[in-house]
């Protein structure tokens, strides 16, 4: 049973970037946002999609696995923390290893930064800043039961395929009901292979 986590519902995202601004206000990386917003079908639709750290569970945190300085702590409750500033060497291995494109590097300080699920807030029972402010509920923080109490019948996925690799995550994504039976492809959908429409 999935515990309290962030659920991302791209169907509700209005692209307002309140999450991006709210992330900047978080005390743990004040002034810098750890969220990015994608526009997967620009030119045809106004659809948008926020990405926060997915807090990978299996394999556990590729970013942490590749860190040569052992700077990225994964806590007992599955939260992948921002790199420890006393150990981080700013090598950007984590940036390259992350399948979701989440960690950022402060080039000047040579330090990594990433979403830590607002640990300073969630550890005390508050929701992360992004999910707190999200006007539409595209970012929801709570348990799956709480999500379903608000949104009857909602289906979520917490595994994503990248080629032959499947990654299970602590953060889950709301998906259309008929798509929940198999893992959700990571990255943008493949629509064309060698000139052939494979949709």
């Amino acid at each position: 049973m999935m515990g309290r986590t962030i659920f991302i519902d791209p169907g509700r995202c209005i692209g307002c970037q309140a999450c991006v601004s709210a992330c900047r206000e978080c005390d743990s990386h004040r002034g810098k946002s750890m969220i990015h917003l994608d526009y997967p079908d620009e030119g045809r639709s106004v659809a948008s999609l926020p990405t926060v750290c997915m807090h990978c569970e299996d394999p556990v945190a590729p970013c942490a696995e590749v860190c040569p300085a052992d700077a990225i702590l994964v806590t007992a409750d599955g939260v992948v923390q921002q790199a420890d500033t006393s150990r981080c060497i700013g090598c950007a291995n984590c940036v390259n290893a992350c399948p979701f494109g989440v960690p950022k590097i402060d080039l000047q300080a040579k330090l990594q930064m990433k979403c830590n699920l607002c640990y300073d807030r969630t550890a005390y029972g508050l929701a992360p800043m992004c999910a707190t402010v999200c006007p539409t509920g595209a970012l929801f923080y709570g348990t799956l039961d709480e999500l379903r109490a608000e949104r009857p019948g909602v289906q979520v996925a917490d595994s994503f395929t990248f080629g032959a690799t499947t990654v299970s995550t602590g953060v889950a994504m709301v998906v259309p009901a008929d798509k929940v039976q198999w893992p959700v492809p990571g990255g943008l959908p493949i629509v064309e292979v060698n000139g052939v429409d494979v949709r």
């Binding site: 049973m1 999935m2 515990g3 309290r4 169907g11 509700r12 209005i14 692209g15 307002c16 970037q17 309140a18 991006v20 601004s21 709210a22 900047r24 206000e25 005390d27 002034g31 810098k32 946002s33 620009e42 030119g43 045809r44 639709s45 106004v46 659809a47 948008s48 007992a76 409750d77 599955g78 940036v95 390259n96 494109g101 950022k104 590097i105 402060d106 080039l107 000047q108 930064m113 300073d120 807030r121 969630t122 005390y124 029972g125 508050l126 929701a127 800043m129 707190t132 402010v133 999200c134 006007p135 539409t136 509920g137 923080y141 709570g142 348990t143 709480e146 608000e150 949104r151 009857p152």
Partner: protein
């Protein structure tokens, strides 16, 4: 006590933080020593956002030195902790380096401003008022207020114009906002406000959103939309563009701009034809139904489909979806109201709601979504040219007598109604108005047909402006008074639900800055009306406002500062201090007309005022983007918001042959400007869209037409004839007039695998204020 006590626990939204199950974060619930405000020695001041008509509750974070330095979500009834990017970043204006901190003055517009004392600025202003009024009469001086002001200040603006300046010419920038809806509501129901609270949206079966880009203009309202949809409600969006909420609606009707009343007349035609009207309600509670029914008979779907450029089936579908359920609601905004037939458009939607019996019930009703924070309250107490406090008519002898008694003036001294905001600009061009004071408005960006506006202001012999940043309009003035931002004073605003909420003071204003109340009272004193303007603070003004509204439809008498601090806000009418307020209107079936009935109004569609031709075959429509607010005087200075949306663009359909980013010249009968193309299928092929938050040379309002609705006098921003053509280069976005620097966000040199956009937004200048 307006400040939260240090150490007061944060409000906790029970929906996001009940005890959980998975891990230690969840296992023990919330520790007793959980995160709280004073861990950093800070204070949380409960207040509301300064921007749109949703009026989200928020806390401002105040440091030990008494300075606002951040924001914290607040579990207020309205927003339940949600905030949009404008709300999150709003606090940055409080201590922004662009703040004006000294009065500025010059004797003519060719000179640079010089910093002067308050005495000098006030004396010069008063001497100019006396000179102009002495030579040309009292009505040669005008006053333009703003709907971002607290209601206390809007009350003072109206009183100051009529009692101290003794001029008929007072109006406000809410004229550019929801006056069409106000006019329609008054005609139909005898009351000028939305019929239902936002929370009723959660209870509806079918929600119709017309001409409102809710996702970008009122993002926090979307939680109500989704709440309704989670419970099974259908969503219909009527808008020329595929807005973020239209994208996932059950039905998106992309009608041609300027055809709303034809569309809604036709929907009502189908409702009648299919026997979906509520005849019992119509018979018992309305007048004028037979005439309306006769009129809509002339709008069969085939005719409306041709006018509106939408399939007939969609008209039928809307009628069945809206009228085929027990509870339906319609909410609309500027897309419907910004037209030369804005009042008619709103009336056609009201006709649909009333004919289907969707009025005065939980989950059934109508509303208009206010654009400005106090767009609703801003006109209720006398700032609008034809209204006296309490929404009284300035033409009504009894209303005039009542107010003169409260103000202690002779009835003969009270001027008649003046003209509207755009008309006052025309009067300045004609030298009928020769002097003007503007209070927290920016017509150089917000009024249509910029060339006319510039000419009008340039023709005025004297212009003074109140503002906290040097707006494009203030940069034209002879005198600029530096005044407080919202977080430096207290007062009330009425949101789109007519819920009155209280804003609290979070910090002292910078040295040299005064409240609008103080400046108005000082000017009044120097004009010889000191005894009528003895208001040391907002509270004292509010106490007079309460009395001045007592017994009217807009009754605030029962609302007190203390009650507002204890509650999540109180909806007027609220006639006594025990009254709970009136969140939902007409529950007893009675309206505010003397006969208690809904006065249905006949609506006939007519084409927009700017005719299409071979030379101008397209519709230009304008609107907002989520990162910016109105004329952008506030948001164009905030780094995060500028970074999010640095410049305007023109949205064009792929069929027009442009590629993304191409320089596109948009030409109308007023002029032309160049914008980068945003090529998208999310807009009609015959329509182009430009957001309006920027000044020339990238000002949508240099292109829009200054045609007015004959009743509401709202400009027809949302449609004019245009063409687009390739251009060679894109004009630079001008920096704000002073712009010594934006709030520096420390997001420098932060990189993902791909670099983030540069921190310095495009087109920002670094020139010092002259």
């Amino acid at each position: 006590m307006t400040h939260a006590q240090a150490g007061q626990p944060l409000p906790l939204d029970p929906s996001v933080a009940p005890p959980g199950t998975r891990n230690f974060r969840d296992a023990g619930g919330i520790p007793a020593d959980r995160w709280h405000a004073d861990q950093n020695g800070e204070t949380l001041v409960p207040t509301h956002c300064c921007f749109c008509g949703v009026q989200c509750g928020m806390y401002l974070r105040v440091d030990q030195a008494g300075k606002v330095f951040g924001v914290e979500p607040r579990n207020h009834d309205i927003n339940r902790m949600r905030l949009c990017p404008k709300g999150i970043n709003a606090y940055q204006q409080v201590n922004h380096p662009d703040r004006l901190t000294s009065p500025l003055m010059r004797s003519n517009r060719d000179e640079p401003f010089r910093e002067v004392s308050w005495e000098e600025a006030l004396d010069f202003t008063v001497s100019e008022v006396r000179r102009i009024q002495g030579e040309y009469g009292n009505d040669a001086f005008g006053l333009l207020g703003g709907a971002s002001l607290f209601s206390e200040k809007t009350y003072l603006v109206g009183k100051f114009a009529r009692v101290a300046l003794k001029t008929r010419h007072v109006d406000y920038n809410g004229r550019l906002c929801m006056v069409s809806a106000a006019g329609a509501n008054k005609l139909a129901f005898g009351i000028d406000r939305a019929g239902n609270p936002f929370s009723d949206i959660l209870l509806t079966d079918c929600l119709l959103i017309a001409g409102s880009n809710v996702g970008e203009c009122f993002p926090v309202m979307t939680q109500y939309l989704w709440g309704a949809r989670d419970r099974g409600a259908t969503l219909i969006v009527v808008d020329p563009r595929e807005t973020p909420i239209a994208r996932t609606a059950d039905l998106h009707v992309a009608l041609k701009p300027g055809t709303d009343s034809a569309f809604f007349n036709s929907v009502l035609h189908v409702v009648v034809a299919e026997g979906l009207t509520d005849e019992a309600y119509l018979a018992a509670h309305t007048t004028g139904w037979e005439e309306v029914k006769k009129t809509v008979a002339d709008y069969p779907p085939a005719r409306a489909a041709e006018i509106c450029g939408v399939p007939e089936e969609q008209i039928v579908q809307v009628a069945r979806m809206f009228a085929g359920v027990d509870k339906a609601m319609a909410w609309h905004a500027r897309g419907v109201e910004h037209h030369s037939q804005g009042v008619e458009n709103c009336l056609s939607i009201i006709n649909l709601c009333v004919a289907t019996g969707n009025i005065g019930r939980p989950g059934a009703g109508y509303g208009t979504i206010t654009g400005q924070g106090n767009g609703q309250g801003g006109r209720e107490h006398g700032q609008k040219s034809d209204l006296l406090p309490g929404g009284r008519s300035i033409a009504n002898p009894e209303h005039r007598r009542q107010i003169c008694e409260i103000w202690g003036i002779d009835e003969a001294e009270l001027p008649p109604a003046g003209t509207s905001m755009m008309e006052m600009v025309w009067q300045m061009q004609r030298r009928e108005i020769r002097g003007l004071i503007g209070i927290c408005n920016n017509p150089f960006v917000s009024l249509p047909n910029y060339a006319t506006v510039k000419d009008g202001y340039d023709t005025a012999e004297f212009h003074a402006q109140f503002d906290f940043f040097l707006s494009e309009t203030a940069a034209n003035a002879h005198v600029v008074f530096p005044v407080t931002v919202w977080a430096e004073d207290e007062g009330v605003m009425a949101n789109a639900e007519a819920r009155v909420v209280k804003h609290n003071k979070a910090q002292e204003p910078p040295a040299g800055v005064r409240t609008d109340t103080w400046v108005i009272c000082e000017l009044a004193r120097r004009l010889g009306a000191a005894d009528k303007f003895d208001f040391p603070d907002s509270r004292s003004v509010f106490e007079e406002l309460r009395i001045a509204s007592a017994g009217t439809v807009n009754d605030y008498y029962g609302i007190t500062y203390e009650r507002l601090e204890e509650t999540g806000g109180i909806a007027w009418p609220c006639p006594d201090t025990e009254h709970p307020g009136t969140p939902r209107l007409f529950e007893d079936g009675r309206t505010y007309h003397p006969d208690g009935k809904v006065h249905l109004q006949v609506v006939e569609w007519h084409p927009p005022m700017d005719p299409y031709s071979e030379e101008f075959p397209l519709s230009l429509t304008t609107g907002r983007t989520v990162a910016h607010f109105l004329s952008g005087n506030q948001t164009r200075r905030l780094g995060a918001l500028v970074e999010q949306t640095p410049r305007p663009w023109v949205e064009v359909h792929p069929s027009l042959g442009f590629r993304n980013g191409d320089p596109v010249r948009v030409v109308t009968r007023r002029g032309s400007e160049v914008f980068p193309a945003l090529v998208t299928e999310a807009i009609r092929p015959d329509t182009v869209f430009v957001p309006y938050h920027w000044p020339v040379p990238t000002a949508a309002n240099a292109l829009t037409i200054d045609a007015l609705d004959p009743r509401s006098k709202i400009p027809e921003y949302k449609v004019c004839a245009a063409r687009v053509e390739p251009a060679e280069r894109i004009d630079e976005v001008p920096a704000p007039p002073t712009a010594p620097g934006q709030v520096a966000y420390p997001e420098t040199q932060v990189s993902r695998a791909d670099p983030l956009p540069p921190t310095a937004p495009q087109g920002r200048g670094t020139s010092e204020r002259s």
